[in-house]
Amino acid sequence: MLASQIGYYSLIMGLLFSFLLCAASIKNFNNNSEGINHNILTLSFLQFNFVVVSFLSLILSFINSDFSNETVFNNSHTTKPLFYKISGTWGNHEGSLLLWLLVLTLFIFVFLIKSRQQPKRYRILTLLFQQVIIIGFFLFILMTSNPFNYLFPIPDEGMGLNPILQDPALAIHPPILYLGYVGTSIIFSSSLAAVTQNYVSKEWGKHIKKWVLVSWVFLTIGIMLGSIWAYYELGWGGFWFWDPVENVSLMPWLTLTALLHCIAVLEKRATLTSWVVILSITTFTLSMSGTFLVRSGLLNSVHTFANDPARGIFILVFLFILIFLSLGVFFLFHKENYKDSNNFFWLSRESSILINNWFMMYFLSVVLIGTVYPIFLDVISAEKISVGPPFYQKLIAPFLMPFLLFMAIGPKLKWIKSKVENKNTLIIFFIISVALTFFILKDLTTDLLFYTVLISAAFFLFFTILKELFVQKLSNISQTIAHFGFSLLILSILFNGILSSEIITNIKVGEKYTNNKSEIFFEKIEEKKESNFNSIVGYFKITDANGKVIQLKPELRIYNQPVIITSEADIKTTLLEDKFLVMNIVKGNEYFNIRYQVKPFMLWIWISVLLLSIGGSLSIFKKKYEK
């Protein structure tokens, strides 16, 4: 109870400090002092601390199961393990917004410290734009989503946390993803500040690149964690469903990736200034609208915590204010710098990066239209439709081929003007790729031509980068690792798609299912009791074509608070393939519905995403040892 009050009043103090910060910044902006006034740093630090106190007191309420707090009552339960009591803090609407705010205030403080070499006015303006966002979030939380609402009479027991959210990957998925999302807000504010100060330059590019990389790495890992969770928890055995909620996180990732490449052009050549600013604005807008779409209940998923129209409208209005603000700033202040842009040649690193951007924008429009069109149609005609995976696959796969080829050649080009070197090696690689693909695929798939073309391109990229990895100078290692990760990702996804097989059947205890590839024997079931759920464990013996036997033990859990049945897949992971078994009960019948999947190269999908983010992280630290 006390904790809730402390939390609530710290939030209000945090909001007050926003106004103090704005006042101090404006005063400091107009005087002639050299650097930023020290008071501003202190104020920003204090604001961050108030939000920390507020967040900690919410965690404390969750740990103590203080059901006088409405948020705790709605999302917690005394029998829940401590770890999930804590992670439950951000497993709900109110708490997750408080986490957003926490990261917002943390990042602006870090920005102020890390940007000491930058011009004073640029730093102050960044702070001001960032405070607009921060004030918006403070108001949003205090007005529509207060995590410290008081309940009376105090209930004895809470409602519990949806059991499928009680999972280690999902405990860290939101914080990591938010670090990525909120990182884009810094990019947004600072690009607006840079536009106003006419500071979109090489120096700015070098300085903001760190933030782009940090956001990109966190966003990548955050998306991957969500994907891993969906893979083993939702029981469908896939890792990407083109679900609107997933798309919403993919969209800022695409623009951020485009921005990451563009910043390099800005940093080296001081061109593409307007495009960089537009991308920065778009990325943050997409992150915000993602939050809006997910939170407002327009998209239905496990992420939708509550459907309160007031919240949706608030975010929508806030979003529009931000968009108009940024467009206004952009058109009023932006001046094109013509300095260096004179020498442009088609065959150069810049134009290859532009091609990369073209593809990113294309993929973005596909995902955007596929996600938004059903909502749009529902609003204007009340017709209910859904856009499934075939739409995305059909539109993205054909464009992946040229994209991969360009990606193989692009990084080899030099800035300004270049020619393709080692043409012979490239041609040899290309022939090897096509031959290898044809050899692997010829008995595997019906759609031979399509897959040969696609996988050849992926192999081509793979080999060119592999060679690069061996003859590489250290300076480019981060980029090569990231690109290598990407080529591995595409190869794993393609082969995973072609080679996966599955058996779905209904089976009784003691029965055997046999087909030409494998044999599934349902030995027995056992019951287990845990503090917050009872479970039924199925014992299966599976014999594959080579006579190898493995045992898999999928589980059915019946959670007590709230009463929900979940099925826990059992997965045997090896380097080459995953074996995935999930079972389900249909009616109080003796039949169990089972789904057995063999998924090649699953592990490599995760490994390659990790390589991508390792590449990004290396790039963050690279400049330090070079100096």
């Binding site: 239209i369 709230p562 929900i564």
Partner: protein, 139 residues
Amino acid sequence: MYGKKVKLRFIFLALILISVILTVFLILQSLKENVVYFQSPSEIKSLIELNKKKIRVGGMVKEKSVSINSYEVKFIITDFKNEINVVYSGAVPNLFAEGKGVVAEGFLKDKNYFTATKILAKHDENYMPPEVKEAIGDK
């Protein structure tokens, strides 16, 4: 006549414009082919001609209608006005049960029989897809 820069800008703009038009055209075209419409049992009853395309049907799983054997699950989807028989062989989600909301994706055999290829997973026992809520009225 024009400087190199102007020419370059012009080519750039033209390229962007062309690719935007192509992209939009391509996306809309494939959107037309790949959207899945949602229909309630009553809407299916009132169809004049059968659609061969994939659709989604939603409503409640009728009480005591689920039967199961080793290769398929049969059940009835109802919106309390009309109902439709569903035959399904595939993975059944956790929260599939009699008296609960359901969305099935697949093809119509005729106005009374539906062959489902997928039953959509729900994550929460209190949660009801808005389509289903609308399909069964305010119940």
